[in-house]
């Protein structure tokens, strides 16, 4: 009962926190709200009319939504890149910011689940996936695995974050017996969610572009580039606008890890490209569609080369120690790798996987306004969740927001 009362005080306090802010906070919130409203109205139209509002068709049956889903699973998994050194090696500079990685993971999973929701034809039947009311085709369906691991991963991160913040709010250190096992579990889970998501595509023999065993490692490599990229930018923003302090060593360390991941990502892409082009089988078609187009069908070609350029540029910027330590080149690198991986894993993975289709037809998919609006809405909602959580978490970790000082406690 006591804990319950404390918790309700924590929730009330948090609410009060997120409802106060300066002008730029409210401007940001208004911006997100506008995007969410636009996305919601587009989604409402999509629900009433059907997915015909999107550019997806029988030929290319997955598109922008699933691309974003895949990318964001990577972002969610990337929290682990921070957790591993923080807890295994007990490296303090990073451990302080792990909580933000986990908040990011929670927000990313929220976005993932939303992207799946907006993609399915019958969102009203979502409960069909949830036993005992529904039926989960486990272990046959990899999608069933994905539903399972994503939700477990979400819960783990949510519990850890809430526990740490709740304890900090009451001026107590978190309970190691709760946090350490959960965090240790979240490490394989992070690898797991992204591996399972890769297997989702990987296991389909019908789609040779995906049916390559390099897919899961490549997913992990690109996740460990793009996830921390967001985090690095967020941390610098926080450092700028709040009293939040983060040591440069932590940022540099993360940037260094990203350099390795970026290299691995390029290497695995290169290995795949070599195999496709040198063996030159019928399956080369999909890679060709991505990089050079098939005949007059060249919609994605600029995106492909943009991704290659951005990923290579980011690698160069991260691998040179002086550049990854300089704020300008560091942030340029972060943006480049984020954009590169986003293109690569969103459009670059899903669309060429389905073009040409199973019967050789080339339908050039490109998202419609509805898809772009809905996706922007989902991202805005994810960022809203992230912002709200940061709004609570930052003061707590800074010790500005605690039971004693907020006046609620006696």
């Amino acid at each position: 009962m006591d804990t319950l009362r404390l918790f309700s005080r924590f929730v009330k306090g948090s609410l009060r926190l997120v409802l106060t802010g300066n002008r730029s906070y409210w401007a940001w919130m208004a911006f997100l709200a506008a995007l969410i409203a636009s996305g919601a109205s587009a989604y409402a139209h999509q629900v009433s009319t059907g997915l015909v509002m999107t550019a997806m068709r029988d030929q290319v049956s997955w598109g922008f939504y699933i691309g974003n889903f895949t990318f964001l699973v990577g972002v969610a998994a990337a929290a682990v890149v921070l957790v591993i050194p923080a807890y295994i090696y007990d490296w303090k500079p990073i451990r302080e910011i792990v909580i933000y990685g986990e908040l990011l993971a929670v927000s990313a999973i929220v976005m993932c689940l939303l992207f799946v929701m907006v993609d399915i034809g019958r969102p009203d039947r979502f409960w069909h996936l949830i036993p005992p009311w529904g039926h989960l085709n486990f272990p046959q369906s990899i999608l069933a695995w994905d539903v399972l691991v994503l939700n477990v991963y979400f819960l783990i991160n949510f519990v850890v974050v809430t526990h740490i913040l709740f304890r900090a709010f009451h001026g107590r250190h978190y309970d190691k017996r709760v946090v350490v096992p959960l965090v240790l579990l979240s490490i394989p889970m992070a690898v797991g969610i992204h591996t399972v998501t890769a297997f989702l595509f990987n296991g389909l023999a019908a789609r040779p572009y995906w049916n390559s065993s390099i897919l899961a490692p490549q997913f992990l490599a690109s996740a460990f580039c793009s996830g921390p990229a967001i985090l690095l930018v967020v941390l610098q923003v926080l450092r700028r606008f709040t009293r939040f302090e983060i040591q440069n060593e932590a940022i540099w360390k993360i940037a260094e890890l990203m350099a390795y991941a970026a290299f691995l990502n390029l290497f695995l892409h290169g290995a795949e490209a070599f195999k496709e082009y040198y063996s030159n089988t019928q399956h080369l078609l999909y890679t060709e569609y991505w990089f050079s187009g098939l005949g007059a069908h060249r919609t994605l070609v600029p995106y492909a080369w943009a991704a290659v350029t951005l990923n290579s540029l980011a690698f160069v910027l991260f691998i040179v120690p002086a550049w990854r330590r300089h704020p300008v080149t560091l942030n340029l690198g972060c943006l480049a790798i984020y954009a590169g991986c986003y293109i690569d894993k969103g459009m670059g993975l899903i669309i060429p996987g389905l073009t040409p289709d199973a019967l050789g037809e080339i339908y050039e998919y490109f998202p419609t306004t509805t898809e772009l609006r809905v996706a922007a809405g989902v991202f805005a909602l994810g960022f809203l969740v992230f912002t709200l959580m940061l709004k609570v978490a930052v003061p707590i970790t800074l010790g500005e927001f605690q039971t004693e000082r907020t006046g609620g406690a006696h």
Binding site: V52, M53, A55, R57, Q59, V60, Y363, E364, T368, T370
Partner: protein, 187 residues
């Protein structure tokens, strides 16, 4: 030149007869010599009549003996018809009318050995040259059958689909192509 044609015809008749005979089970082997041997495929019951819908005569043409009766002498000379049946263009190997139609009773056809067969049994005549198609047809694999897959079936005669005088199919107009997805996407 003419002798070559006749030679070919004679050969066709001989082969046809041979096929028909083994088909009839006289030789005691199923007619699948050129095919991979199938353990269970049923032997063809040559004499078993097949239930078919009425032959597809042009209107008013049958019975043929309405004209081709005792009063009309039979002209057995191979020639181009100029007075009657000029609408029939014969594009079927080197045949001519009396190779298939029975000269002595036009309401019948005849096999190479002279046996008369009715129009509703014309498949036996066609099968003399087209042995493989005939076997497939009897098995229900060449041509169309209607009825039920696990019960009573009705066959169509060869002539229901192929004009016997010009057996090659004429090209037909296809039904509309599907609508390409690019034309249905809102922009």
């Amino acid at each position: 030149m003419r002798s070559v044609v006749w030679g070919a015809c004679a050969l066709a008749v001989v082969v046809g007869t041979f096929v028909a005979r083994i088909g009839a089970g006289d030789a005691g082997v199923p007619v699948r010599a050129a095919e991979p041997q199938a353990a269970q495929a049923p032997p063809i019951q040559e004499m078993e009549r097949v239930e078919v819908p009425p032959p597809p005569f042009s209107e008013g043409i049958y019975p043929c003996t309405a004209c081709h009766n005792k009063d009309m002498p039979v002209n057995r000379t191979r020639r181009e018809l100029t007075e009657m049946h000029t609408d029939i263009v014969l594009k079927h190997g080197h045949q001519w009318c009396l190779d298939c139609h029975d000269p002595d009773d036009r309401d019948f056809l005849h096999l190479a050995d002279g046996e008369r067969v009715g129009f509703d049994e014309s498949y036996r005549l066609c099968g003399q040259c087209h042995g493989e198609k005939y076997r497939d047809w009897r098995a229900g694999v060449h041509g169309r059958r209607s009825g039920s897959w696990n019960g009573h079936k009705t066959y169509l005669l060869c002539a229901h689909c192929h004009n016997p005088h010009q057996p090659h199919f004429k090209p037909i107009e296809p039904k509309p192509a599907p609508i390409p997805p690019s034309r249905t996407v809102p922009r």
